[in-house]
Subunit: 287 residues, 2 copies
C-alpha cells in the first residue's frame, strides 16, 4: 500500500493504474476506521472477481467544512498509524491523507456546492451547511481521483442521497455504491463516534436499531400512517433509554420526501443524542 498527503502524488499513481487498465475505486472516509469501512474495501476487492483489476483508493480527511462551529471537529478521533495498518490489511492500494492546507490551500473555499431541498431536511435542518461541506469535499475528491466507482456507507443515508443527486445534476461519471450498514452484534451501527459513548450509553444505544426494526415491522404488516411509526419509535427510545431524540422521520427513500400514506421504497431515519454524542441510523424497506 502506498500512502500520500499530496494531490499531485495521488494523481500520478492513479494515472499509472489507469494506464494499466485498472478500475479506479474511491472510498472516502474520515478515518478512525472500523469494520464498516473495511468491509467496503473487501467488497471492492472481491466484487470484480479479479483482485488485480481494481485499484482501491481510500481517503482519510476530517473535513472542517462539514462541521458546525459547536460540533466535534476538534475532538473527532484521529489515529493514522492504526488506520494505515488496517487499510493495508484490508487491501487498500493507495491511502490519501491530505492536510487541511492541501485540500483548502487558500484557507477557505470560496466555492461551495449546494444540493437544495434534500440538504435542508433531516440532519441538515440541525446542521446547517453540513451537506454543503460534504458535497463540496466529495466533489473535490471526485475531481482529483476521477473514480469509476465510489463507496459510501448507507448509515449516512441522507449523505448518499445528496451525493447521488449532485452526481446526476452535475453529470459526474461515477458509479455510486451505498454500502449496507455494518452493525455490532447487538445491532448498533458501527460509527467512529461510538467511541465517545460512556459504558452506560453504549449499553443503551442498541435501542436505536431495535426501535427502527419495530417501525419496519409495523410498515411491513400494513401500517401506512407515518405518525404511527414515528410515535412508536420515539416512545420506545424515550422509555427504554436516556437517549434524547433529535428527529425520527419516515420518508420516500429516493427523494426523501414525506408521505401522507407510506408506500414504495421507504427509509426510516433518525438522530438521537446520548449525552453529548449524536448517533444516526436508518433502515430501508419496501412498504
Amino acid at each position: 500500500m502506498k500512502i500520500t498527503e499530496y494531490i499531485s502524488g495521488l494523481r500520478e499513481n492513479i494515472h499509472l493504474a489507469r494506464e494499466q487498465g485498472k478500475i479506479i475505486v474511491l472510498i472516502p472516509t474520515m478515518g478512525h476506521l472500523h469494520y464498516g469501512h473495511l468491509s467496503m474495501v473487501e467488497n471492492a476487492r472481491k466484487d470484480d472477481g479479479d483482485r488485480e483489476k481494481v485499484y482501491i483508493i481510500m481517503s482519510i480527511f476530517v473535513n472542517p467544512l462539514q462541521f458546525g462551529e459547536n460540533e466535534d471537529f476538534d475532538r473527532y478521533p484521529r489515529n493514522l498509524v492504526r488506520d494505515s495498518r488496517l487499510a493495508q490489511e484490508a487491501g487498500v492500494d493507495m491511502l490519501f491523507v491530505p492536510s487541511v492546507q492541501e485540500m483548502y490551500p487558500d484557507g477557505q473555499s470560496l466555492t461551495t456546492i449546494n444540493v437544495s431541498r434534500i440538504s435542508e431536511i433531516l440532519c441538515g435542518s440541525k446542521r446547517p451547511g453540513h451537506f454543503q461541506g460534504v458535497a463540496t469535499i466529495v466533489n473535490k475528491l471526485f475531481n482529483i481521483v476521477l473514480p469509476d466507482i465510489a463507496y459510501f456507507g448507507q448509515k449516512d443515508y441522507q449523505q448518499f442521497i445528496v451525493i447521488n443527486k449532485m452526481v446526476k445534476d452535475l453529470n459526474i461519471l461515477v458509479q455510486l455504491i451505498a454500502f449496507p450498514t455494518v452493525r455490532e452484534q447487538d445491532g448498533l451501527a458501527m460509527s467512529s463516534r461510538n467511541s465517545y459513548l460512556s459504558s452506560e450509553e453504549r449499553q443503551q444505544a442498541p435501542i436505536i436499531y431495535q426501535s427502527l426494526r419495530e417501525g419496519a415491522v409495523l410498515i411491513t404488516e400494513g401500517e401506512t400512517d407515518p405518525d404511527v411509526i414515528i410515535t412508536t419509535i420515539k416512545d420506545r427510545i424515550s422509555k427504554g433509554s436516556k437517549g434524547k431524540i433529535e428527529y425520527v422521520e419516515v420518508r420516500n427513500a429516493h427523494n426523501l420526501e414525506r408521505f401522507e400514506k407510506i408506500e414504495g421504497t421507504v427509509v426510516i431515519s433518525l438522530a438521537v443524542w446520548f449525552g453529548s454524542t449524536r448517533l444516526i441510523d436508518n433502515i430501508l424497506l419496501e412498504a
Copy 2:
C-alpha cells in the same frame, strides 16, 4: 465536423479522440457565433503546432439557469444552421448542441455551485444568481467533456475569474485560457447581444471602449486614484452618448478586489445600457 444533441454521443466521440492521444479542447458558447468565438477555434487549432493533435469541441447552449427572470433568455439570438456552418469552417471537430431537457432532465437542477464574494460584485450585484448559473453549467460541461484545455472570452472577464476560482477550489484538472476580446474596427467588443442595438445605438456604442482606453492611459501615466478613473469614464460615456451606466469599476485583476490606490495588474470593467441592451467590456493593464 460531427454534431450531437446528446451527452452520451458526445462522450463516445471524446473517448475515441482521447484513445487516439488527442488533446481535448472545449469552447463553451451560447451560439450566435461571431469572430470572437471563431478566433478561439483558430487559436486552438494552430496553437499546438500539429493540427491533428487537438480535438475541438464547441458547445452551444443558451443556459436558462444563468438568466434572470426579466432578462433576455427568450429573445437571445439562436441560429443553429448558420452557427454549425461557421463552426465547421473554423475547424470545430464536434459541435455539442444539447436541449434544455438534455442538460436539466429533472426540469431544474437542485445542485448549484456558488463561488462566493467574486460572484456578488460587478455584474453579479445586478444579476443575482447569474454566476451561480454560469459556474454550474460550466462545471457540468467540464464533467461531461473532461477537457485538457477550455477557452473563455476575456470580454466576460468576471465570468473567467469565477470559473478560474471554481476550477482551483474544486481541483478540476483543466487549463483555462482567457482569450483576448475581439473587436469591431471601431473598437466595439464583439458580442451576440450587439445584434439588439438600433443603428443609432450601434453608432454610439464604441464610446465604451474609447472611454476604457482613456482610463487605461490615465493609469499608465501615473494616476492611482480609482475614483478619478471611474469619474472620467462615466463623464465620457454620459456626455458622448445616450448610454446609461450600470457600473464602472477599477479592480485588482486577480481577485476583483477594490483598490485604495491602483497598483499591479488592473482591470477596468463596466456595464452600460443602450436602450434595452446591456453591454459589458473591460480592459486589462499593468499599473
